[in-house]
């Protein structure tokens, strides 16, 4: 299970820690499998009702069985892989730009009260401009649709990264800076030896939020202009009335999103240094 943080009520005794932990992990794993089975069963029942209704019979391929049958065919033709590759590239570059810009801006916000207070109103205004409303502008400014999509992802995801970084810095004990300065740390050392290790956890939390937003923006951004990626694949399946391919792509989007989100959770746990309550 991805978010398998142990719950307070299953803290095992010290003696049989491993077996207790194993048992609760096993219980959560089997519950995850049962949960997913219930989801698929509900989906199957829904598809069956669509099939029974004479008006909607031709949409019967929305059901789980046609969807799962479409997978091998789509995988063999390489359409899933190429969509993932194209979208992954855009998402990766967009998030990278957001991190490269967002982390320094966040550090600046955390360290300088003046900058934090001055930047608040313009950043809040820019943050609440729905990312897709930049699209007409992005298309005019950038040469290719690919660049515009990367810009949309970057501008949507830069805010969570910047604000999470600033929050991380706010939690850093100011005396650490004093100690470092007394020990002769240069400003550069402050960044590498204190700020970075202290806020890695918060930066990854920000990246996780950014990923969630970028994932929302990616699909509509790919509806227009480009001929590759997950959003295009969905739009294409819809226009060619291949409903089994449509639901298969929707499922692929959900699974990839889940994997990426879980990867962020693992990174957050790895860099967490707040172990106690």
């Amino acid at each position: 299970m991805s978010n398998g943080a142990p719950h307070a009520d299953v803290v095992p005794m010290q003696g049989n820690a491993t077996s207790g932990h194993f048992r609760s992990a096993w219980r959560r794993f089997s519950n995850a499998i049962i949960g997913l089975s219930i989801l698929f069963a509900l989906w199957w029942i829904g598809g069956y009702f669509i099939y029974l209704n004479p008006h909607t019979t031709h949409f019967a391929s929305f059901g789980p069985i046609p969807t799962l049958q479409a997978f091998p065919e789509m995988w063999a033709s390489g359409s899933i892989q190429s969509a993932i590759l194209a979208s992954g590239y855009r998402l990766g570059v967009g998030l990278l730009i957001a991190v490269v810009i967002g982390v320094p801006v966040g550090i600046f916000m955390g360290r300088s009260k003046k900058f934090r207070e001055l930047s608040n109103s313009p950043f809040q205004l820019l943050r609440m401009i729905s990312p897709l409303s930049w699209m007409p502008l992005a298309v005019l400014v950038f040469f290719s649709w690919n660049q515009s999509i990367i810009f949309l992802i970057a501008i949507a995801s830069v805010w969570p990264v910047a604000y999470a970084t600033a929050a991380g810095l706010a939690k850093v004990d100011p005396s650490w800076f004093k100690v470092a300065r007394n020990l002769g740390a240069k400003p550069w050392h402050m960044v590498t030896a204190i700020i970075m290790p202290a806020i890695a956890f918060d930066i990854f939390t920000g990246i996780r939020l950014a990923l969630g937003i970028a994932w929302v923006v990616l699909v509509p951004a790919e509806f227009l202009g480009v001929t590759s990626g997950l959003g295009y694949a969905i739009e294409d399946a819809r226009e060619s009335l291949a409903y089994d391919h449509l639901t298969a792509m929707v499922l692929v989007i959900g699974i990839i999103g889940w994997i990426l989100d879980s990867a962020c959770v693992l990174l957050i746990k790895r860099f967490s240094w707040h172990h106690s309550g």
């Binding site: 949960g35 809040q124 609440m128 929302v216 997950l230 449509l246 990839i256 999103g257 967490s272």
Partner: protein
């Protein structure tokens, strides 16, 4: 911060708290905005001073403010706000009506929480706009399809925030209430609702953020009203001053709605010690 903090919900909380801790006086508010508009003006002035790029002059702040005036007189802005506001409001209402009970169930029953975790995580990470082709087929009108998209995008933050709010409630409160003779209904109205109002509102704030992102692309297609349509329309008719005016309006309304929820959150907050 305990390990629970690492599950889905509370990351969003941190973000919400962070966004509240920043802020300054009223003078910084206007000075910051003035800086933004100054940079905008300088950028467009610089770009459009090149004769081949002169047509970009329409993107500047002064044409945009003039266009806001014209569009307001025509009623263009009011109509767009009205139809988008209706879709947003109804979508968020559906998300709250479904999300809060699901969140309470997730917080109270370990079995439900563990069973629902995998399917909910999968559904949560399906990008909302990829439901669009299905929504268009299932629902009779585009209007309903857009409301569905907003609801399905915003139900997850509400549900997970409610669940995490409930997880923070001290179990002893339930014991005390039971000893004092509280019925199940009283548990809900006297303990659960006041205790989690803060968390539910934080969830609604996050939901509004996502719904705001989903609203604009959802209105690009099919409908002929709303903020998204107005932007698309300004682009197709090459009215760049109107385009920038609408972008500005979207940012301003979003800022206003977000600020309103922050006020509500502060009103219902009882965890004053924490940042």
């Amino acid at each position: 911060m305990n390990e629970r903090t690492l599950s889905t919900n509370v990351n969003g909380f941190q973000y919400s708290r962070v966004l509240m801790y920043v802020g300054g006086g009223i003078s910084n508010f206007f000075l910051g905005l003035a800086l933004l508009f100054g940079l905008w003006w300088a950028g467009i002035y610089f770009v459009s001073s090149d004769p081949t790029m002169a047509h970009f002059a329409d993107f500047g702040p002064i044409p945009a403010f003039k266009a806001i005036g014209f569009a307001w007189e025509d009623g263009l802005i009011q109509r767009a706000i009205e139809s988008s506001g209706y879709r947003l409001g109804l979508g968020l209402l559906i998300a709250i009506v479904i999300g809060v009970p699901i969140g309470i169930l997730m917080g109270r029953s370990r079995l439900f929480r563990e069973l629902s975790n995998a399917p909910f995580q999968l559904l949560r990470m399906i990008s909302p706009l990829s439901w669009e082709p299905i929504a268009v087929i299932v629902f009779v009108t585009w209007e309903q399809a857009i409301i569905f998209l907003i609801a399905i995008a915003s139900v997850w933050p509400v549900a997970f925030a409610t669940a995490s709010g409930l997880a923070k409630v001290d179990p002893a409160w339930f014991k005390v209430a039971r000893n004092l003779g509280a019925k199940r209904w009283h548990m809900l109205t006297q303990i659960i609702v006041p205790a989690i109002a803060f968390d539910v509102l934080t969830g609604i704030r996050l939901a509004l953020g996502v719904a705001w992102i989903v609203l604009v692309p959802a209105e690009f297609l099919g409908v002929d009203s709303g903020l998204g349509y107005t932007i698309q329309d300004a682009r197709e008719t090459l009215q760049y001053d109107y385009l920038m005016a609408m972008v500005l309006i979207i940012g301003a309304i979003g800022y206003f709605l977000d600020g309103a929820i922050v006020l509500l959150i502060k009103r219902f907050s009882w965890t004053r010690g924490e940042v």
